[in-house]
Symmetry: C2
Subunit: 104 residues, 2 copies
DNA sequence: CTAGGTCATATCAGATATGATATAAAAATG
DNA sequence: CATTTTTATATCATATCTGATATGACCTAG
């Protein structure tokens, strides 16, 4: 089970403590996780309006499975890839900055 | 010579074309580079006011040389590490978001 | 000058992220 | 329903990023 799924559980009312506590993360690690999660969710939103996962994958010279992981908050996906994907959907640095600013 | 040094040359008036042209980067790749550069510079600023490279390195369980590379825009440093370092200097997601929004 | 502290550069083995592929599951379409 | 399209999951070899270490360069103070 990955972090995104844990967040989803939390969202559905599984009040078993904060993500940080659950995963035993330091505040900084926790913020990093939430930044990645925010980027994932925003990416999914943007991409869905514009193209298919396969199309986005081609734009960033990646693969459809990797895009799926990016959108689902898989741990194996770096912020780099998330940002590359965001940019490929036409997101500006301002868009990305806002998503990150609102995380946490 | 790394990207940061190329940016520095540009800043000093070496009008030899944009960084993108010089490095033959796509617009998206270019924005990514500028985001990393903006984070580097901002990290250096913040860190200098608060602590030594060695101290920051310990906070993020890294090494002083790695912090030096992070601050100098070395290609081998990921956005992840840059953000981890920023957070360790007390930067908030808002701070980080603003730095990214102003890049490009 | 020189001793101590700070930062930069080089190298490297191990860890993590990567794209690719195969395939299953799910959703949309007719 | 059946077919097609789209998305999710599993596995893998390779590339990239990592922290560590060694060492050099650069200060500034004594």
């Amino acid at each position: 089970m990955d972090v995104a799924k844990k967040e989803r559980l939390k969202g559905k009312g599984w009040k078993i403590g904060s993500v940080s506590e659950f995963l035993e993360l330091s505040p900084e690690e926790s913020i990093l996780v939430e930044i990645k999660l925010a980027l994932s969710l925003n990416l999914k939103e943007r991409r869905k309006r514009l193209m298919t996962q396969a199309e986005l994958a081609e734009k960033i010279h990646s693969s459809q499975p990797r895009v799926a992981k990016a959108e689902n908050g898989d741990d194996s996906v770096s912020i780099e890839l998330l940002i590359r994907a965001m940019l490929a959907t036409g997101a500006t640095p301002q868009d990305i900055g806002q998503v990150i600013a609102q995380a946490g």
